[in-house]
C-alpha cells in the first residue's frame, strides 16, 4: 500500500478528510438543487406546453363557436327577411291595409 493510502486509513490525514466531507456535502447539495431546478424547469415546460395546447384548442373552439353563431345569425335573418315574412303573412291570411284612418284622441287632464 502506498504511504498516502496508509496515512489516510490510519488517521494521519484526518483533518484533510474532514475538508473532503464538507466538499462532498456541498457537491451533494448542489446536485440536489440542480436536480430540483431541472425537475422544476421540466415541469414548467410541460405545463407551458399543455397550456399552449389548451390555448390553441380554445382558439379552434372559439372559431367554431363563431362560425356556428354566424350561421345561426344568418339563418335567423333569412327566416325573418321581408320576402320570407311576406310569404308567411300571406299564408296566414294577412293583407296590406288599403286605407289607414287616424283617430284623434283628446286627452283631458284628470
Amino acid at each position: 500500500m502506498s504511504v498516502a493510502w496508509q496515512q489516510s486509513t490510519h488517521g494521519v490525514l484526518r483533518r484533510q478528510e474532514k475538508v473532503n466531507r464538507t466538499l462532498l456535502m456541498t457537491f451533494a447539495a448542489i446536485t440536489v438543487m440542480a436536480v430540483g431546478l431541472g425537475v422544476l424547469y421540466l415541469g414548467l415546460v410541460a405545463s407551458s406546453a399543455h397550456l399552449s395546447s389548451d390555448i390553441w384548442h380554445m382558439h379552434s373552439e372559439m372559431a367554431e363557436i363563431q362560425r356556428e353563431s354566424s350561421r345561426l345569425e344568418t339563418e335567423i335573418a333569412r327566416l325573418s327577411s321581408i320576402p320570407v315574412l311576406q310569404v308567411r303573412s300571406v299564408a296566414l291570411g294577412y293583407q296590406a291595409a288599403e286605407s289607414i284612418e287616424y283617430v284623434d284622441i283628446e286627452v283631458r287632464a284628470p
Binding site: M1, S2, A4, W5, V45, S48, A49, L51, S52, S53, I55, W56, H59, S60, M62, A63, Q66, R67, S70, R71, E73, T74, A77, R78, S80, S81, I82, P83, A97, I100, Y102
Partner: protein, 581 residues
Amino acid sequence: MLRGPEARLRLVTALLIAALLPVIGQLVRLQILDRDRYQAEVEELVMRPYALPVPPAGTIRDRNGDLLVGNIPIYSVGAQIELITDTQIAAAALAPLLGLDEATLLEKFVIQEDEKDLEWVWRHLANGVRGENAEAVKELKRTTWDWLTLVATWQRFYPESELASHTLGFVNADGDGYGIEAAQFHLLQPRPAAAMGEVDVLRVPLSEELAKGDLRAFAGTDIKLTIDRTIQAFVEGELDKALRLYGASGGTILVMNPQTGEILASASYPDYNPSLYNIYDTSEQYRFVDPAVSVVYEPGSVFKMFTVAIALNSGSVTQDWSYYDSGLIEYGGVLVRNSDGGAHGQQNLQGVIDHSLNVGAATLTTQHIGADVFADYLLRFGFGRTTNVGLFGEAAGLVHLPWDLNWSDGYLPTNAFGQGIAVTPIQLVTAASMLANHGMMMKPRLITERRTPEGQVVTIPPKEEGQLVSVETADYVVGLMEHAVETSIVKAQVPGYRIAGKTGTAQIPVSGGYDPVEVITSFIGFGPLPDPQLLILVKLDRPQVDLNVRWGTQTAAPVFNQVASRLFVLLGIPPTEPIDP
C-alpha cells in the same frame, strides 16, 4: 502491470477523461462549429407558416339592426384516402352532401399508381360545402370517418336577397367592386393573424411560439346603415310596379330625411342578387353600377326650384318679380320655348313653378342672375362634385362654368330649366333637401354607426354643410312648390299632409341633339310641411306611355303619392291637416 491502487485510479480517471473528450468534441462541433448548418436544418424541419382561424368580415345592418349582409361558414372538404376502408359506403353517404355524384367520388378515392409509395395521400373532394350539408359532414368526421378533413372559410350572405343590392354592392378578394362593400372594404375586412414559427406535424405551433402571445386576429368592423329595410322593400316594390305600369326601362326612387341627410331607401332598377353576382354575364356590367350615385342625367324642370332660389337669394329679383311670357326667349344663340309651346302672358315666380315655364326660368338666369352668380350657386349646392355619401364610384356630374374653355352662353338659359347640365339623383335630393330644411344643407349619409371588433361603438352624427340660402328664401320657394302641388300636380297630393314638389320631364341627349321621343320623367316632393321629415325623388327612364301623358306629372307624381302615403304611416308621421271624408 500497474502497481498500487493509486496508479489504477489514475488510469481509470484518464480513461474516463479520454472517453469524455469525443463527447465534448462533438458538442463543440454541433453547438459551435456547425451551429449555423444545424440551425438551418431544424428551422427547415419545424419552421412553418401558421395562422389563427380567419375571423369573419364585418356585418352590415339596417338602421334598426336587421341584418343585410352577414357571413356564413363554408368548408373545403378533403380526405386522407389511404385510411378509407369502406369506399363504396363512404361515396354513397358523402356524394349528396358534397354535391357530387357517387362515381366521381369513387374515382377520387382511388390511390393512383404514382401515389402507392407515399406514406399518406390527401385528396381534395369539394369546395363551398355549407349549411346542413356541412354539419352532416362534420358529424360523419366526428363519429365515423376521421379521415375526412374540413377547412373552414367565410362567404358573404345576403338574407334579403336583392334588397338594396346597389347600395350594398359586393367585392372580390382584392376589394374590387362597388357599393358600401367596396367603399368600406378597409373597415369591413377582417384582420387575420399569421406568422412563421415552430410547428408540429399537424401545423399546430409549439408552446414557445404560442407563449409569445402576440398573435391576435380581429373580425371586421360592423356597419349600421341609415337604410330602413321595411321602407327599402316597400320602395323597391313600388318602383317595380311603376316600371311595369309605365313600361319604363329603368328608374330610381330615393328617400331622404332632409333634416338629417339620412338616406332611408335607395331603390334602382335594373338590380341583381349580390349573392349570385358571378352568374351575370360580363356584358351585363351595367347592372353593377348604382344609378342613384353613379349615373348622371339631365334633370329637367325639377331644376327650376334651384333657379328661383338662386334668383331670390342672390337678390337678383324680389318676391314680387314678374315678366311677360311671350313663349319664346333667345340667348347665346339658343332659342328657348315653353314645354307646352305656348305663351303665358304676364307671369310671376309662382307662375314659373306652377306652369313649369322654361321661358320664365331662362329669363331669370339670363336677364337677372347672370352666369357667374348662377354657376357659383350651382357649385355651392353640390352640383358638379361628388357628395361623398360613402358609396364607391360616385359620379360628379357635369356643370358648365363660365370660366371653362368650352363655355357657351347658350348654357345659361338651358341650365335654368335643367337642360345641358348633368346630375346624379343623390346630388338632386341633397340640394332639394337643403330647400326643404329651411336652407340648411345636410351632408347625405348612408352610415349611422360603426362597431369595432373590440366593441367600441362610433356613432356618425348628422353633419351640417352650411346655410346655403336664407330661411326666408328657402321657405318662400317651398311655398311656391306647395302651391304647385295644390293646383297643378294634384296626383302628388297626399290627403292630410302638406306637400311641396316639382315635376321634371327631361329630354335625353343623343348624338347631335336630343331624342325626339324618349324622356326621363321625375318628381321631387317632400312633406309634411312646414318641417318635412321625408323627401322623395321618383325618376322613371323612358316611360313607354302615350305621348300625351309622358310627363312627370302623369307618371312620377302618382308614384310619389303611393310612396309618400305609405311612408308617412310606416314612419308614424300623423296627418297635419284635416282629411276630407
